[in-house]
């Protein structure tokens, strides 16, 4: 080995955020934010293309495409300094909310009568911040207001909403000392009893069939994965995760597959969340996870703590993927 940097193997980029949406033609498109910039995949994560090697945003901790991405190519990113927005599919970025670290970003359809920004994005955008609670934008990220009524802990680690948010106004916020729920579209929040004393809730996922099954999954730092089947009214620990910290959780679009990133690897359930296989202990801890589907197969994609990504298709072996490939 020589002394120059070029002679050392280039470390793989650490993927810190993943997101999936539908492009104009109806096909799925995935985005990955890493230390090597922004990447995109059009084949459900099997191969990636770098679209913005240097976003200028620093570390991106969350990604959320607009609900109308197919029309406006808008994505929101949570960063160390706030929220930034791209209106060209992730190539270029502009800051829309500044002032502190943002750990979570989520978009939901706007209500009728919401103001529109140029480009016609009627998304309502929520941002979870490190020290200022939850911020909400009703105009696609142009203006923001704090919506913290009922939140006793203003360090927000994740946000997730009901797929039928415009009807039921239901959403969840994960904080360092508990979980909160709104049933009024985010105007105010109520703490939920998880059965533990001030658990740090690190991640959330709401079932795509939430209206029917009321299923919500919450990953905690010390108490593993918690599950509610009644829209958050009551919770129980999922046994197989009792000794693991849960970092990320994601449902597949077909809702049958759930992937959970723990501090020791990836766990997957393919049968309505009842049985789990710790399928990825060999690839180590993951920072983020996403499940894509082509209608036949579910592909689990995980951003690894040690760098790079790993893909597993329909329960098969894991393949390493470099998100920074051009």
């Amino acid at each position: 080995m020589g002394d120059s940097a070029e002679e050392y193997p280039r470390p793989e980029a650490v993927v810190t955020a993943l997101a999936m949406t539908q492009a104009a033609g109806g096909e799925s498109v995935l985005f990955a934010a890493s230390t090597a910039g922004m990447s995109r995949s059009k084949d459900r994560g099997r191969t990636w293309t770098s679209i913005s090697p240097s976003t200028g945003l620093g570390l991106i901790t969350a990604l959320a495409p607009s609900v109308d991405f197919a029309a406006n190519a808008t994505i929101f990113a949570g960063t160390g300094d706030g929220v930034s927005r791209s209106t060209d599919g992730g190539h270029t970025w502009h800051s829309t909310l500044q002032g502190g670290q943002v750990f979570a970003v989520a978009t939901v359809p706007g209500l009728a009568g919401d103001d529109e920004i140029p480009g016609g994005d009627a998304s309502v955008v929520f941002a979870g911040t490190e020290a200022d609670g939850v911020y909400r934008s009703n105009d696609g990220g142009v203006t923001w207001a704090a919506v913290n009524a009922g939140l006793l802990d203003l360090t927000v680690l994740d946000i997730a909403f009901s797929p039928a948010f415009t009807e039921d106004g239901t959403g969840f916020v994960a904080t360092t000392s508990g979980l909160y729920r709104t049933r009024n579209g985010g105007k105010a929040w109520r703490e939920l009893d998880l059965g533990f004393d001030e658990p740090a809730v690190q991640c959330l996922a709401v079932s795509l069939t939430f209206n029917a099954d009321g299923l919500v999954l919450a990953g905690t730092e010390e108490h593993g994965l918690l599950r509610s089947d009644d829209a958050g009214a009551s919770w129980r620990p999922v046994p197989k995760f009792a000794d693991r910290g849960v970092i990320a959780v994601a449902f597949s679009p077909r809702a049958s597959t759930v992937a959970v990133a723990t501090d020791r690897g990836i766990a997957i359930s393919r049968d309505q969340r009842e049985t789990w296989i710790h399928a990825g202990d060999e690839i180590g801890a993951a920072l983020c996870v996403l499940v894509a589907s082509d209608g036949v197969a579910d592909i689990v994609i995980a951003g690894l703590v040690d760098g790079g990504m790993a893909c597993s298709e329909n329960g098969g072996g894991w393949a390493r993927v470099d998100p920074s490939a051009s």
């Binding site: 704090a146 913290n148 009524a149 009922g150 006793l152 203003l154 049933r183 105007k187 109520r190 004393d197």
Partner: protein
């Protein structure tokens, strides 16, 4: 015993009206002579008529135009009425008062108009049973009045307890007394009947609890209060608010100058207690915002000398923002803070909220929220002992002329939760007045970080007052249901208790069984009254209810039997149980009363 009172005399021949207990009213006759010694004339303000009250002794002295009137011992005499006349009188009174308020029962109810205080006032049109009962202060017959006042007190007690159910309670009470009276007149034992009623009541309450279902979702709460509010938008608002702030959360209802009703949630902790001195504001700004302030909570007015060590503490720790919450600051203290602004940075002082014991509780709450210590000099804490760790912290604080707020307090969540538990326990146990209960609710709302404020608007003052009353009733009902669940409404829950009571009836015999049968019969009366008010034949309701599955109720609006919970025909469990308990208690008292005694004394009136 004789008591002297003195009061100026009226003009000659002018009737003179005076209100105080046991004072003989004297009328100066046109001849200048006083009225006969053995009778004292008085004017009845209700009827406008004169009458003479008997007295035994009376002493009168006068000096010039000043009369001295004295109360004479033994001036009163009692009137006694025994059974069966007493029972008939009580029942008539109960019937009259219940007839006043039963038309208000149900979603298709009627109103009651009460004449204005003066001949020129418009009548007051009411649909709130408790308020109607409260307005009715006396019947002309004193013994019937006792029955009426029994129902009046019943209605108001139920309303104060659970916010609704007054008419239901009155109707059940009337039916029990109505059914029991002829039986007792024919020789039945009222004490055994009462025992049967009490046993039946226990069974009925247990059955009602079994029928209870959770009412938690905003939409469920909205459907439940829709009948009270009669506006879908307001019902949705109440459903959302109660679900958000919870059963014990703070909901403040205020009048608004607008013609529409609006609401908002208040974030963090906010108290309606403003700055101690505008001199601490920055020039031209009505409000000061502090970022990451240290917060001092203390129970005494601070002087400049007392502030010195505290300011030095902050300076030494490089504090750039300080908020003092105290009962007051001396002028010298304000000047001292202004002079040291460059050293400390942003400094503001807010007045400690509330007063007395509630003030201390509020400051203890703030200590929990901010992670500081409430310095209580009244119990021995010394300013000299204050250390930096005694100051609370927050992400933000703001103070203006009328309020201060804290967002993102640095308090320990466990301590905050403990304060909430303590406050909720106090709320459940306290027999305090509404204002104090509201204060406790406010504190709970602030501790949990979410309070709601409803600004009630309407085109006229009268309409706004009426709307505000309906909103407050709806909030009380929604809270009760949110906390304890709901049962099928429209009287259906009572009807569904009947099978269990019939089983009890089979087990008992004699007059106890009669008591059970009486309650069985009375339990149909709310549903029948609701039907009658809506123009539906009431007699078929009870019979049909027995054929319907549990949980079904008759919707008097659509004239259909529906699943009560799904159709929003829901009554809060506490309202239903409280109304039943109170009505049986009142009825039992009425049926076991054999003798009525009334003191006959001069009618008193208020000096116009």
């Amino acid at each position: 015993m004789v008591r002297e009172t003195g009061i100026s005399a009226p003009s000659e021949g002018q009737p003179w009206l005076w209100a105080c207990s046991h004072v003989v009213l004297i009328r100066r006759l046109s001849s200048g002579q006083d009225s006969p010694a053995k009778l004292a004339p008085a004017i009845d303000m209700h009827t406008g008529g004169w009458h003479y009250a008997p007295i035994q002794t009376m002493v009168i002295r006068s000096s010039g135009n000043r009369f001295r009137c004295v109360e004479a011992a033994g001036m009163t005499s009692n009137l006694i009425v025994e059974s069966p006349r007493s029972r008939r009188a009580l029942l008539r009174g109960i019937e009259q008062m219940t007839a006043l308020i039963s038309p208000t029962l149900g979603p298709v109810a009627r109103t009651v108009a009460i004449a204005g205080a003066t001949g020129m006032s418009a009548p007051e049109v009411l649909d709130n049973a408790a308020v109607i009962a409260r307005r009715t202060v006396e019947l002309s017959d004193p013994f019937e009045n006792m029955g009426a006042m029994l129902v009046r007190q019943l209605a108001w007690r139920v309303f104060e307890s659970v916010g609704d159910g007054s008419a239901t309670a009155a109707v059940i009470c009337r039916e029990v007394v109505r059914a029991a009276s002829p039986y007792i007149a024919a020789g039945g034992n009222p004490m055994l009947i009462k025992r049967g009623l009490e046993q039946a009541l226990k069974i009925a309450l247990a059955e009602l609890k079994c029928q209870s279902r959770e009412v938690q979702l905003p939409a469920e709460l909205a459907r439940m209060v829709a009948g009270t509010l009669r506006e879908p938008g307001l019902a949705e608002m109440i459903g959302e608010i109660v679900e958000t702030v919870g059963a014990d959360g703070s909901v403040v209802v205020e009048n608004s100058p607008s013609t529409t009703t609006a609401y908002e949630y208040v974030e963090g902790v906010q108290w309606e207690s403003g700055y101690l001195s505008y001199a601490l504001l920055r020039d031209g700004e009505p409000e000061m915002r502090l970022a990451n302030p240290r917060i001092l909570l203390i129970d005494k007015k601070l002087s400049d000398v007392e502030l010195v060590p505290l300011v030095e503490l902050c300076v030494a720790s490089d504090t750039r923002s300080l908020l003092i919450i105290a009962p007051g600051l001396s002028d010298a203290a304000v000047a001292f803070l202004n002079v040291n602004r460059d050293r400390v940075g942003s400094v503001m002082a807010a007045r400690a909220p509330l007063s007395g014991v509630q003030r201390d509780e509020a400051l203890l709450d703030l200590a929990a929220v901010t992670g500081g210590r409430f310095v209580q000099t009244e119990v021995g804490d010394r300013i000299a002992d204050i250390v930096l760790e005694d100051f609370g912290t927050a992400r933000q604080a703001w103070v203006n002329e009328s309020a201060f707020g804290i967002i993102g307090g640095g308090g320990d969540r466990g301590a905050i939760r403990q304060r909430v538990v303590t406050a909720k326990a106090h709320l459940r146990q306290t027999q305090a007045e509404d204002q104090e209960r509201q204060t406790i609710r406010d504190r709970i709302g602030k501790l949990t970080g979410a309070s709601a404020v409803i600004h009630v608007g309407a085109p006229t003052t009268t309409a706004r007052a009426e709307l505000r009353s309906r909103i407050e009733m709806a909030i009380a009902s929604a809270r009760a249901a949110f906390q304890d669940g709901g049962v099928p409404g429209g009287g259906a829950a009572y009807l569904h208790c009947i099978p269990a009571l019939e089983d009890l009836h089979q087990q008992l015999s004699g007059d106890e069984a009669v008591g059970v049968a009486i309650l069985i019969s009375a339990l149909s009366s709310p549903a029948e009254t609701i039907a009658a008010n809506a123009g539906v034949e009431p007699s078929v309701i009870a019979a049909e209810a027995a054929r319907r599955p549990p949980g079904f109720a008759f919707d008097v609006r659509s004239h259909e039997w529906v699943d009560a919970m799904a159709g929003g025909i829901v009554d809060p469990l506490p309202v239903v149980t409280t109304a039943l308990e109170a009505s049986v208690s009142a009825a039992a008292m009425a049926i076991t009363t054999d003798v009525l005694v009334r003191s006959r004394r001069p009618k008193y009136a208020i000096k116009p």
